[in-house]
Symmetry: C2
Subunit: 158 residues, 2 copies
Amino acid sequence: MRHYYSYDEFLQDCHTLTQKIDWEFDAIVGIARGGLTISHLFGEYYDIREVYSINTIGYEDTTKLDCTEVFNMPTIRCAKNVLLVDDIVDSGETLELVLSKLSSRYPDTTFKTASLLYKDTASIKPDWYVKHADVWIDFFWSDDLKNLAKAQTATTHP
Amino acid sequence: MRHYYSYDEFLQDCHTLTQKIDWEFDAIVGIARGGLTISHLFGEYYDIREVYSINTIGYEDTTKLDCTEVFNMPTIRCAKNVLLVDDIVDSGETLELVLSKLSSRYPDTTFKTASLLYKDTASIKPDWYVKHADVWIDFFWSDDLKNLAKAQTATTHP
């Protein structure tokens, strides 16, 4: 089972998320890549120019379990309340790690978390989320451009 | 004159941009906030996980002209060819400054630039762009969430 998550669904879910978030924040950190588009729309919606991103990379190690590393920690200027956003909280490993790294680096800053989707089996529950995910999600930002390219190639070279 | 730039137009223009970019790159830097969504879609399309963002802030100074400062310079891991993306090259000041700062910091890396829109009066021309901008652009990432909130408030409280 797969679910295609369109731009329209994304927009509606972003709206629902803004209705749920009962907290004032002055900066947004999006976890790349999944959290980038939501961080962009939220930055515009909340009129926040301090929109940052943070990167993680997963390694497969032959001797240990798979591990994830955080890099490109943003330099948060003066924000005291920061909203950390991602598309989906799946295993929860990434969100938990990013939250822990940011909290250690900025001990006087409060971080809260929001995602569009959340799996019940995750190790961490975001402060706010919209929907439970129980199937594989094909997000529009992954599929739309590839599908458009395929469709136009098919038209040009039938 | 204003032009509403929808998600569909964005998607089509992203596709056109990918057709124009005749260069291989191994990392993407999006200029926040405008370049965030395009950096996300391009990261997925080109299967590049090294997607970074960079921030700029504009100051109004009473004694000098307005000036722009770059912050949150990304730590580029090992990429040799980096595509710098933004939504619109308007005055060109931001793109020129970001390009100069990145090139100084990473002298052995080649940076090339791409944008959806470009104004002829800009101080710098991106290596690739899709359309000339001659009117004010209302991007979907700025307008859609606000408009949805307004529409739903109107329905709930008529």
